[in-house]
């Protein structure tokens, strides 16, 4: 009896020990993985501060021997980057506004009003997510060309005001968690749907709307395909387009290229660290519905 109890205790002790060992091992793996994941970003920073001569030395250095902060000034002077930045800010701002307004409006219709054909329409919304974008690319190009909208920002901005399947889906998921009683009560008080949407649902769904705003900021800021197709005029270039042209002009000037890339990525990195919660909530919102 006592022997059995003894071995049992030992067994539990060893399990505890094993669990600790596993945790330590996992932590070590995750730390090394983190270093590996972060190393490209450090490499970008370090390369952007090196002289070309140092970049070409072998073996490469991890920390610049001399810090050439003037690389950034020189990069900015290589083209009208301020203009490109303002262009990108303008487009991104409009796209975010459009996406937030349109998708929260549309998602309200799909989640809080009962009307004939709603389920079929929503099924179509979901199906559209599977259609490859390139199928409609050429017709859209032709459409905008016929309308004389090439070399304007309209093709980049306007579609954002007509909803996007993924965001409608995301916001609808969130709206479904808002109790209908709230809406019924407001209706009893004579509130219209428009009022309920703007005054009750939008304030209640700030986290989900923030997620949509951040995702669409990211999408618009990094959009390359749209500007590549619709914008030819150099003065209208976005940062992404300018970077691609910059790449062609400074083929192996890695310090300038990295400085430019880092400057283009910086707003996204900042927003990520400031609003990380919303990124993760957005992902969880879409993951939770896959069950």
């Amino acid at each position: 009896m006592s022997l059995a109890a003894q071995t049992k205790r030992n067994y539990f002790q060893s399990v505890k020990f094993k669990k600790r060992l596993v945790k330590a091992l996992v932590t070590i793996i995750l730390i090394s993985g983190s270093l590996l994941i972060l190393s490209p970003i450090w490499w970008m920073v370090s390369t952007s501060l090196k002289s070309m001569q140092e970049i070409m030395t072998y073996p490469p250095t991890f920390i610049p021997e001399e810090w050439h902060f003037e690389n950034y000034i020189e990069t900015i002077h290589k083209g009208p980057f301020l203009r490109y930045t303002l262009n990108t800010v303008l487009i991104t701002f409009c796209v975010v506004i459009g996406n937030v307004l349109a998708n929260s409006f549309i998602a309200y219709g799909f989640s809080k009003i009962a009307f004939k054909g709603r389920n079929i329409l929503f099924a179509i919304v979901l199906v559209t997510m599977m259609i490859p974008g390139f199928v409609t690319l050429i017709p859209q190009y032709v459409l905008y060309a016929k309308l004389g909208w090439l070399n304007t920002y309209l093709p980049l901005i306007l579609p954002a005001f007509f909803g996007s399947a993924f965001y409608i889906f995301l916001l609808r998921q969130f709206y479904l968690t808002i109790p209908n009683e709230l809406i019924e009560a407001a209706k009893m008080d004579g509130a219209s749907h428009l009022y309920i949407w703007w005054k009750i649902i939008v304030p209640l769904s700030k986290p989900a709307i923030a997620t949509v705003a951040i995702f669409s900021f990211n999408g618009a800021w990094n959009d390359f395909l749209g500007p590549l197709l619709f914008i030819n005029d150099e003065r209208l270039y976005t940062l992404q387009l300018a970077l691609q042209v910059f790449k062609g002009q400074n083929d192996t000037q890695w310090n300038y290229l990295m400085a430019g890339s880092l400057m283009a990525l910086l707003p996204v990195i900042l927003i990520f660290f400031l609003f990380q919660r919303y990124f993760i909530e957005g992902m969880n919102l879409s993951a939770g519905s896959k069950g």
Binding site: V26, A102, G109, F110, F162, Q244, M258, G291
Partner: protein
């Protein structure tokens, strides 16, 4: 749902008695359509219309300046008889899909499982691993072109530490696609986040019960964790397959002036389509190509859906 309907009917009768001309139900219907109207308009103008145009256009010799002459199946025939590049592009695309989708899926699951071991600093790790997934665009491609630079890049430097002489990546036709897959692996944290959310919703009581039965760590993973996250795996595989088939920007930006890299090794299906449509303005042909891609994606998605019941485990009562 039920109380809502009752209330609705109640208020319906209320309003009916006041304003008999517009029945409440109809008003409600109209408002519903008003709210989804922007999407309907957008759907018609930006999607359904273009789809129809593209379908018809794929049977014409449309090149933006000419009239659209109906030429039957000529475009589709030309793909099989008069275009070698399209087969190379299809091969490149399949290569990328077949390797990158399983690798990123497995990598994301592995990372999520590691992060879910109740270790300290989980949130910090999660932030670090997720960061690359939010970075995209030309800046990232330029960064990777530098990282993959044969002599001065980070990747080959790290490889040399473990005694491996790295390949010349984007300059070597055999290594261009592995290079893009490596880049894709960097952002594996996006998928990880999905799996992590799903892992955290698995009830601990299941593991406790298995532990009492003496299940090993691997058995617990194989028989509890894996089945519980199959819905997310399924979703991830379906969406990332669709996404991977449409790879374009990487090939366009990371080859010199969009020419498709050494020995056409980065000419993906969409890049070839792009060149046909906007370089030589063979738009009818490009639209036919887009439908072939659409059909491939559709068939694969349907196969995925058909295969799902065999391995995807749905917790019937677990859904909210």
């Amino acid at each position: 749902m039920q109380p809502t309907l009752e209330q609705k009917q109640k208020s319906q009768t209320n309003i009916k008695s006041k304003k008999p001309k517009i029945p409440f139900k109809q008003k409600e219907q109209l408002q519903g359509y008003m709210f989804v109207a922007p999407w309907i308009i957008g759907f018609v103008v930006f999607l359904a219309g273009p789809l129809l145009f593209s379908l018809y256009g794929s049977f014409t010799n449309f090149n933006i300046t000419s009239t659209m002459d109906f030429i039957g199946l000529d475009n589709y025939k030309r793909m099989f008889t008069n275009d070698n590049i399209i087969w190379i592009s299809l091969g490149n695309t399949l290569y990328y899909v077949v390797i990158s989708v399983p690798l990123t899926t497995a990598g994301a699951i592995l990372l999520a499982v590691l992060l879910n071991q109740g270790i300290r600093g989980m949130r910090v790790f999660r932030t670090i691993y997720y960061l690359p997934a939010v970075l995209s665009g030309v800046g990232v491609y330029l960064l990777w072109m530098q990282l993959l630079s044969p002599s001065s890049g980070l990747v080959n430097t790290l490889l040399s530490w473990v005694g491996i002489e790295g390949p010349s990546w984007l300059a070597d036709p055999a290594w261009t696609k592995p290079a893009l897959i490596l880049m894709k692996m960097w952002s594996v944290g996006g998928g990880m986040l999905l799996y992590l959310a799903s892992l955290q919703s698995v009830s601990p009581s299941l593991y406790e019960a298995a532990e009492i039965d003496g299940a090993s760590a691997f058995q617990k993973f194989r028989h509890i964790t894996l089945p519980m996250i199959t819905p997310v795996i399924f979703f991830d595989i379906v969406t990332s397959t669709i996404g991977a088939f449409q790879i374009f920007q990487e090939g366009y930006v990371m080859s010199k002036s969009g020419d498709g890299g050494p020995a056409n090794s980065l000419v993906f299906f969409n890049l070839h389509m792009w060149n046909k449509a906007f370089e030589v303005f063979d738009m009818g042909y490009a639209m036919a190509m887009s439908w072939i891609l659409f059909i491939i994606i559709l068939v694969l998605t349907v196969i995925n859906l058909k295969l799902a019941p065999r391995w995807v485990h749905y917790e019937g009562e677990d859904q909210k």
